[in-house]
Amino acid sequence: MSLSTTDLLRVARLARLQIADHAAETYAAQLSGILAHFSLIGEINTDSVPPLAHAIDAVGRLREDIVSEAVDRDQLQAGAPLVENGYYLVPRVIE
């Protein structure tokens, strides 16, 4: 199991994570090592074993469709890095 720097940079782009070219080599080597060790999971036969997403076999609870929380926008946005008139500011998307 080996990951090239090209593979690594592709994954980093999917994760929206900027990785400098010189660091990509280190990450690729580390991930290759980790995945090589983890590849032992492939040795176990799991044919016909249904995947388990959740340990507790719970049923989703339903509630009445009524407003339960009052959201204070100012308070919610107090932790945002850049807001104006109640809006989050981002770089221009449409010219």
Partner: protein, 488 residues
């Protein structure tokens, strides 16, 4: 008031408060003074909040004067910095949230404060709870009170160190793959990861949602039971919290262990276990036998793949959960982004540390097209086999006993360059999270002056049983009451 008149456990402090031996304000001042004097060497707190704590303590004293008397009223605690607290920073030990304040309290915090507990501060941890040594914290590593050149474990390392150093009688922790039990073991304290769903995850910053579970850390099993009584319970804001009739986790503590069937998983006792820890587990089985328990060897055939299965599942969920940190709604934002993609990718690159990035990369990789079946789906299939192993084991025994970790606390820096070795320190704990079972770590001896943790694993919702076994063990041993010299 001198140290000698302040008892160390929550239970004893609760009794002393009820008798009026001291007030909650005095007790809180005692801990704030200790934190101020001693925490420079341990770095167990990221934030200390004296004004907030003293106001809560004064309120607790008022409630008591008005006739209220409940076990947690006026008791100080240390809160892992992963639980959201309104008005006090919640950092998750990340640069990403270094200045962030939550707009609400986590359900756990709400419950503990409603019970009258006093929050001394927020404890250090591995960044976003990803780590087993506390070294990934943006605020620097917490240190082990038994040897400050060694790690306290992680991710709840600050909480474990604070309780071990008597900077707080009890603390909160969270456990995704061992993050309560492993640091409890390495610092010589007692910690409980409840059954998945027992404790609400609302306001507990998400790492891997199908594994994360909050729980208490303390000096004794009795104190864990008192804490869990307040922490546990269904929460309509967490759809995965389990709706069950309330239980008193103190109820079975004093019952004798006669007739108890204890299983020791042979896979936990193999060559990977250090001989000193093996001797402690053997000694514990002898103690339990003397208390009337029967010991039986059991097998968990898939224990060897728990760590890889865990890291695939946990990293996949983490990569999804941490996508919310985008530099827009909260947290760190890069300077002068040229476009939206640059804003996202650079804010995240600057805000997250190395280990968090590694996990996001692993998680994104195992979920990506072409790799999903071989990794993520495979890991979830193994998760079922691991769960079935536990179910089979519990058909013949009441609890499982084994080591919490293969080794005692390692030196700071020892495993930093080798993530894989670090991951393998969770070899006995991760399976419990994959299966969603309750697990407890308690002190069981020392090797070369460093604490050893014994792990008790219970069946689903059988916290009362493992708390009972731990309490009975602690009535007949004194490992849990040993105190590090640096904390004197």
């Amino acid at each position: 008031m001198t140290n000698s008149v302040i008892p160390q456990t929550l239970a004893a402090q609760s009794a002393a408060l009820a008798e009026g031996q001291f007030s909650s304000v005095e007790l809180t001042q005692h801990y704030l003074e200790r934190i101020n004097r001693l925490d420079g060497q341990f770095n167990s707190f990221i934030t200390v909040c004296p004004d907030f704590a003293l106001a809560q303590a004064a309120e607790a004293d008022r409630r008591r004067a008005a006739g209220e008397n409940s076990p947690l009223l006026g008791i100080p605690y240390a809160n892992k910095d992963i639980f959201c607290t309104k008005g006090i920073n919640t950092t998750c030990a990340s640069r990403m949230l270094a200045q962030w304040q939550a707009p609400y309290d986590a359900t756990v915090v709400e419950r503990l404060h409603a019970a009258g507990m006093v929050m001394l501060g927020k404890t250090n941890m591995d960044e976003f709870a990803m780590g087993s040594s506390n070294e990934t914290s943006w605020f620097g590593p917490a240190r082990n009170p038994w040897d400050t050149n060694r790690v306290p474990g992680g991710s709840s390392g600050g909480s474990a160190a604070a309780v071990a150093a008597r900077l707080a009688p009890v603390a909160t922790g969270t456990d995704t793959g061992g993050s309560i039990r492993q640091p409890a073991a390495l610092c010589g304290v007692t910690g409980l990861k409840p059954t998945y769903g027992r404790v609400s995850r609302w306001g507990m910053i998400a790492f891997a949602s199908s594994l994360d579970q909050g729980g208490p850390m303390a000096l004794t099993a009795e104190d864990l039971a008192l804490m869990l009584n307040a922490m546990a319970g269904a929460d309509r804001r967490d759809a995965t919290s389990i709706d069950r009739a309330p239980e008193d986790f103190m109820a079975d503590l004093s019952k004798p262990l006669s007739g108890l069937k204890v299983g020791v998983p042979s896979e936990f006792m193999d060559a990977g276990l250090s001989p000193g820890i093996r001797a402690c587990v053997d000694a514990a089985t002898t103690t339990l036998q003397q208390l009337g328990a029967a010991i039986k060897e059991v097998s968990l055939p898939h224990a060897g793949v728990a760590v890889p299965a865990y890291y695939v599942v946990a990293s996949a969920e983490a990569s999804s959960n941490l996508s919310r940190y985008d530099g827009v709604r909260f947290g760190h934002r890069c300077e002068n982004p040229v476009d939206l993609a640059d804003l996202y990718s650079r804010s995240r690159a600057e805000g997250f540390g190395e280990e968090v990035k590694r996990r996001i990369l692993v998680g994104t990789y195992v979920l990506s097209a072409g790799y999903y079946d071989a990794w993520y789906r495979k890991a979830q299939q193994l998760r079922r086999l691991i769960q079935q192993d536990f179910v089979a084991a519990f058909s013949g025994v009441d609890v499982l006993l084994g080591p919490t970790t293969p080794n005692t606390a390692f030196a700071l820096g020892e495993n930093v360059a080798d993530p894989l070795t670090m991951y393998l320190s969770d070899i006995y704990t991760t399976g419990v999270n994959l299966a969603g079972l309750p697990g407890l770590s308690m002190p069981g001896g020392f090797v070369d002056g460093l604490p050893v943790g014994l792990q008790l694993i219970g069946n689903y919702f059988d916290e009362r049983r493992i708390l009972q076994v731990a309490h009975q063990f602690q009535q007949h041993t004194d490992w849990h009451s040993r105190m590090p010299v640096a904390a004197e």
